[in-house]
Amino acid sequence: MFRRREEIGITLVVLFAMVSFVRAFDYYSPLSFYEKVNKFKRLPSDEVTRYEARFKCLEGMLDPGEIVGFISTAIPPEGKEYYYYRLTQYVLSPVTVEDSVNHQTVVGYFPERDSLLKITINLKIIQDCRNGVVLLNNKDYQ
């Protein structure tokens, strides 16, 4: 038999858990998930997957042990400094990426094509994926 206060306690715990789940479902919203699936007729892709897909055209062009440079004009999300540099390191691993152009080979991410033309004066394009991703050769590198 339960005491009155135990009953209240159990009810409180159950309510506590329920509220938590309501808020968790607010965070991972099944509704927005359903809307996306309905709209695109497939599972929604996330930003990392989309970013990784941009680099497909560099597949096989870089050696696993290689260290390459990185240059980008993309503005990282607030509070996430080096976001695109870190993301590039993730998608290109096991190639090591350094946030500098001081390398023979440099990977570039230029979501706006105009900025690519301005910045690549000393960098020769080896491969242009035509989605913002380019592989560059540093002419000044010694």
């Binding site: 209240i8 409180l12 991972y28 996330d46 990392v48 390191q89 993730y90």
Partner: protein, 473 residues
């Protein structure tokens, strides 16, 4: 099917874990819940052993081939042999406390609520995993990245420790388990980290429920599960593929094993050996595991100095070291020979004194700690403040408050929170940034243990199976 090729090595690791756990806990009998506890414990221990084996093959072989699979077979065969031999020469009486059946029926509302919430937690896990298949920021930035280096890197796997990589000094249990699944499946699918996260999230829940059921009966076990899931920090962090929940698993497992050891009768060295292994795996999971290990050892020393009966057989603690030392040696090898220095330690200098003497930092950190304890927003919530409220409604078993087991947990948590406070005080990073990106995860490390501690002192005679109470604490 990739998923089948990844589930198989998980089962393999769990079997290895189960053989180790059941051998070392041989003779310890309590109630049916102990079998469940052993099962959930086997998952963490098995994954820990599998990660060490994989790491040693990387180090010895220079790259990961398929030899590590052969080594896992050998480990398994040796364990089966030991089990068979132990069964044949079984001279141990089956040691038991006055455990009873442990099967006092729990109220329907509690059982229904618990299993409904577990089902919802599974749905949330899948939803989170589909929405963020590579996990959150820290997952792809740290854990999944190093797993890629180990799997894809071949002879260049040590590039995972390049200073260009974010936090290259972080321990490897989690990353290596992901790489291990990829090696078995021969593809670096996002299913790997999802599966490892799933195992740790739900085995932590299972471990807590079973541990509380071992000590206080199934009703309170289910209640503890509901409270654990009540922190949406736990539910939401589950599918994020980071190593904080695995660390909380090993912290909880170590303390529960020590509690079972304290309350069991007869030779119980095996319990301490697994506790030592679990504490070792905590250091192999995250750097914060070292803080846990130091806190644990400090508290054990103090308890034994103050309370004469705290350690009835000092030599028994050697068993703890048997489990701990082999793992810690490997972790130290990784730290000394492979990993670069930790950013929080290497950046200390004259400015540390300035930071320590800045009162505003104490206030800011104190406020952040307090804020986290009362925080209820999704993703970040581990509302420790709600726990005393439950105690008000249920009541407190006053004699349990004075027990060594409860005081030990409180002392460890106090030291660990103190340690976290000092880390923030001396951090070379921007304090606001550091607090906002990590404090909620530090609370998560201790959330399952805190719930366990609360369940030890909660007065709920209607839910408790009084039969499971041990004769001596």
């Amino acid at each position: 099917m990739i998923v089948i090729r990844m589930i198989f090595p998980c089962l393999w690791a769990i079997l290895i874990g189960y053989l180790i756990v059941s051998h070392l806990m041989h003779g310890v009998q309590w109630n049916k819940s102990l079998n469940w506890f052993k099962f959930w414990l086997s998952i963490g221990i098995g994954l820990g052993i599998a990660s060490l084996n994989y790491f040693l093959w990387l180090v010895i072989g220079g790259s990961i081939g398929h030899y590590f699979i052969g080594a896992e077979w050998i480990i398994l065969l040796v364990l089966v042999g030991i089990k068979y031999w132990a069964k044949r020469s079984d001279k141990h009486p089956h040691l038991t406390t006055n455990g009873g059946s442990g099967s006092v029926s729990s109220p329907l509302i509690l059982t229904t609520a618990f299993f409904t919430m577990v089902a919802l937690a599974v749905i949330i896990f899948f939803l989170g995993s589909i929405l963020f298949p590579h996990g959150y920021w820290d997952a792809w930035l740290i854990w999944n990245l190093s797993a890629r280096f180990f799997f894809r890197g071949g002879e260049f796997w040590q590039n995972a420790f390049s200073t260009n990589v974010f936090h290259p000094d972080y321990p490897l249990l989690y990353s290596i388990n992901i790489a291990r699944l990829w090696s078995y499946a021969e593809i670096d699918s996002v299913l790997g980290p999802m599966l490892i996260s799933f195992l740790f999230t739900f085995s932590t829940l299972g471990l807590l429920v079973a541990a509380v059921a071992v000590f206080r009966g199934r009703g309170l076990g289910l209640l503890s599960g509901l409270i654990l899931l009540g922190a949406n920090g736990f539910i939401v962090q589950g599918p994020t593929q980071v190593a904080d929940i695995p660390l909380s698993f090993f912290i909880l497992a170590t303390i529960v094993l020590m509690n079972i050891h304290q309350r069991s009768l007869g030779p119980r060295g095996g319990l301490l050996t697994i506790a030592g292994m679990s504490a070792g795996f905590a250091t192999w999971t995250k750097n914060e595991g070292w803080l846990f290990l130091v806190s644990l050892i400090a508290v054990i020393i103090v308890i034994n100095a103050v309370k004469r009966d705290g350690i009835r057989r000092p030599r028994e603690w050697m068993y703890f070291l048997y489990g701990l030392i082999p793992i810690v040696v490997i972790v130290l090898y990784f730290k000394i020979a492979l990993a670069p220095s930790n950013d929080l330690i290497s950046s200390q200098g004259v400015q540390t004194l300035e930071r320590v003497s800045d009162i505003s930092r104490y206030i800011k950190i104190g406020k952040a700690f307090l804020g986290q304890a009362v925080r209820f927003d999704p993703r970040f919530s581990t509302p420790i403040v709600i726990l005393p409220l439950f105690l008000v409604f249920f009541g407190v078993e006053k004699q349990n408050l004075r027990r060594t087991s409860f005081r030990m947990i409180m002392a460890i948590e106090t030291i660990m929170f103190g340690g976290y406070f000092i880390v923030y005080l001396t951090t070379p990073h921007d304090l606001d940034w550091h607090l906002s990106t990590s404090l909620f995860r530090l609370f998560l490390h201790l959330w399952p243990l805190t719930v366990f501690a609360v369940m030890l002192i909660l007065a709920a005679p209607g839910l408790e199976n009084r039969q499971v109470r041990p004769a001596r604490v």
